[in-house]
């Protein structure tokens, strides 16, 4: 394809996208207004299914398939990072040295760790009731564990972080989401239909499958982030290439 032809193809694509985009935006409700057709319908559907947090209802019930896609993207990226950052043949592991930590930093991190962990678990557990959910809470839980690296050193973190277990949990979270979705098929409904009883509005067990899918995402994200950061930390702290090793001995 010549340069000229390529530019024509590009121009046709840009023009088509621009036309469709403008047409789609013409009917959008104004910014910050009170009228929003999708919002109204989503809130109505969420309340009908006894889910207090409409966002959770959209994520795990009305548009649960989209969330499956997002979750799979995260799962796939963690898997890709695992392969890319693995220890290759010319690399060697040096056990990390104990590190000196300034006392105020240690105090702060040790106090912040349990608080952060609790907040993370709370955000996961209350996903269907208040802002937050499995993704947000999962990231907070994973981050809280890494405060141990800041408070003490990498060896302390490695002790509470058997990476193999977290890899299994990552896969189990992803599989759990799929299996809960497939369970709806047994009742004769479509994949990922909310088939459980909706329960009492604004209680922890309300929302049918929403809290279950939310928990599956929480496990998957927390474990996935821990595994992801473990690979980055291994490369940054422990793993040295053959050349580094020779240099360390001189």
């Amino acid at each position: 394809m010549s340069m000229r032809l390529r530019l024509w193809v590009l121009a046709a694509g840009v023009l088509g996208t621009a036309t469709l985009f403008v047409l789609a935006c013409a009917e959008l409700p104004g910014f910050g207004g009170t009228w929003h057709p999708y919002g109204d319908r989503a809130v109505h559907a969420a309340l009908a299914r006894h889910t207090a947090n409409t966002i959770a209802s959209v994520n795990f019930d009305q548009r649960a398939l989209d969330t499956l896609g997002e979750e799979s993207i995260l799962f796939g990226s963690v898997l890709g990072t695992l392969v890319l950052l693995r220890q290759t043949r010319d690399e060697r592991r040096l056990p990390p040295e104990p590190a000196r930590v300034a006392p105020p930093v240690r105090r702060y991190a040790l106090i912040a760790l349990p608080v952060t962990l609790l907040i993370g678990l709370y955000v996961v557990a209350h996903g269907q009731l208040s802002p937050g959910g499995g993704f947000q809470g999962g990231v907070v839980v994973a981050t809280s564990l890494h405060l141990l690296y800041i408070a003490i050193d990498y060896r302390a973190l490695e002790r509470i972080r058997p990476v193999g277990l977290y890899e299994v949990a990552d896969a189990a979270g992803e599989a759990g989401y799929l299996l809960i979705g497939a369970a709806a098929l047994l009742t004769g409904a479509a994949f990922l239909t909310n088939f459980l009883p909706y329960g009492t509005f604004n209680t922890l067990s309300s929302g049918g499958t929403v809290p279950l899918l939310n928990a599956a995402i929480g496990v998957e994200v927390a474990a996935g982030i821990v595994v992801l950061l473990a690979r980055f930390l291994d490369q940054a702290v422990e793993i040295v290439s053959g050349r580094d090793e020779a240099e360390d001995e001189t």
């Binding site: 802002p131 981050t143 950061l229 980055f232 930390l233 490369q235 040295v240 290439s241």
Partner: protein, 89 residues
């Protein structure tokens, strides 16, 4: 107009932090500015009444991404240092 002021302040903060993240060239400093940008974005989302997205942004944008940048920089610098020393020998 008056009710739009908080959102406008949020937008300005995001614009300043975003521009700062581009203009700062040192990756280590950049990761701190990136963290500030995440914080500004989280505040903006909160002002736009999207607390769910604000929480995601806060956790990923202002904690996780800068940490990954810092760890990558540490790895790359360590490697570069050892290669430089090898050349001197």
């Amino acid at each position: 107009m008056a009710e739009n002021v908080p959102v406008l302040i949020g937008l300005v903060l995001v614009a300043v932090a975003g521009t700062g993240a581009v203009l700062v060239r040192d990756p280590v400093r950049q990761s701190f500015v990136l963290s500030l940008l995440g914080l500004a974005l989280a505040a903006l989302f909160l002002l736009l009444q999207a607390p769910d997205v604000a929480l995601s942004q806060l956790a990923v944008g202002s904690a996780l991404t800068p940490l990954m940048v810092l760890l990558s920089v540490r790895k790359v610098r360590r490697k570069a240092r050892s290669e430089r020393r090898e050349e001197h020998e």
